[in-house]
Amino acid sequence: MQTIFDAINQLITHVGNNAFWGALFGLTISLVFDRIPGKGIKKGLFIGLIYCSLAIFYPVSTYLTLGDMATTAEYLRNGPIDKFVYGILFVLIYERLLRK
């Protein structure tokens, strides 16, 4: 049974969680704000799409691909190494070979 303390706990959790990650994502987006296409609501929707892709669709699709939570947790623990290697490779390929 949910009590008022559970409700307060949920409220603090949601606010704290969203404030922290909101600040971090806002910091990132502010660097590239004028490069995002569209104006007003369209720009906001575009930012939302990017955030969803990175923060929700990617982990959920990884879970769907791998099939269970334990394997997904393992896979995502490799993640930072993957992403750094991917970033370096992308920049090298794009700058050196394709961007003319």
């Binding site: 490069r35 995502l76 991917y86 970033g87």
Partner: protein, 153 residues
């Protein structure tokens, strides 16, 4: 746009080597689940890692080419900064939630028990419901697989 797709696809496929190396080395160290060395298992791993990295390589590439000039640094530094942004939002963020709830992951009951306390527990509370709920429903709906989370909802 097309150049970003090509670069993302190539970088994604090459990057898929990393999960193989870390997956195998961690499993031999006993940190990850052991590999069952059979053709089916290896084939499944190849398909999963290469496909996942190729598809998401294209998506990340499309995002990156929009912001390419605004990311500070050049060459490797630029790549590392983009890697850091991807890591924070696509990997570290969901992983912190799952680490905090490690005790709920089958087979991880003891390994991550120490995470399940204090403010981390409180802070991540909402994700205990959201991610398993969403992914559990999608898994059952799309693939017909059985999810322990969906069954417990």
């Amino acid at each position: 746009m097309r150049r970003g797709i090509y670069a993302g696809l190539i970088a994604g496929i090459i990057t898929s080597i990393i999960p193989f190396v870390t997956d195998y080395s961690f499993s031999t160290m006993g940190i990850f689940q052991p590999w069952q060395l059979g053709i089916d298992f290896i084939f499944k791993k190849i398909i999963i890692h290469i496909l996942n990295n190729a598809i998401w390589g294209i998506i990340f590439g499309l995002i990156l080419i929009i912001f390419f000039d605004r990311i500070p640094g050049k060459w490797i530094k630029k790549g590392l900064i983009f890697g850091l942004i991807l890591s924070i939002f696509a990997v570290i963020r969901p992983t912190t939630f799952w680490f905090a709830y490690g005790a709920a992951i089958p087979g991880y009951e003891n390994k991550f028990y120490f995470w399940r306390n204090g403010w981390i527990y409180c802070w991540c509370n909402c994700w205990n419901y959201t991610i398993p709920y969403l992914s559990g429903i999608l898994a059952n709906w799309n693939l017909g697989t059985t999810s322990v989370y969906a069954n417990n909802l």
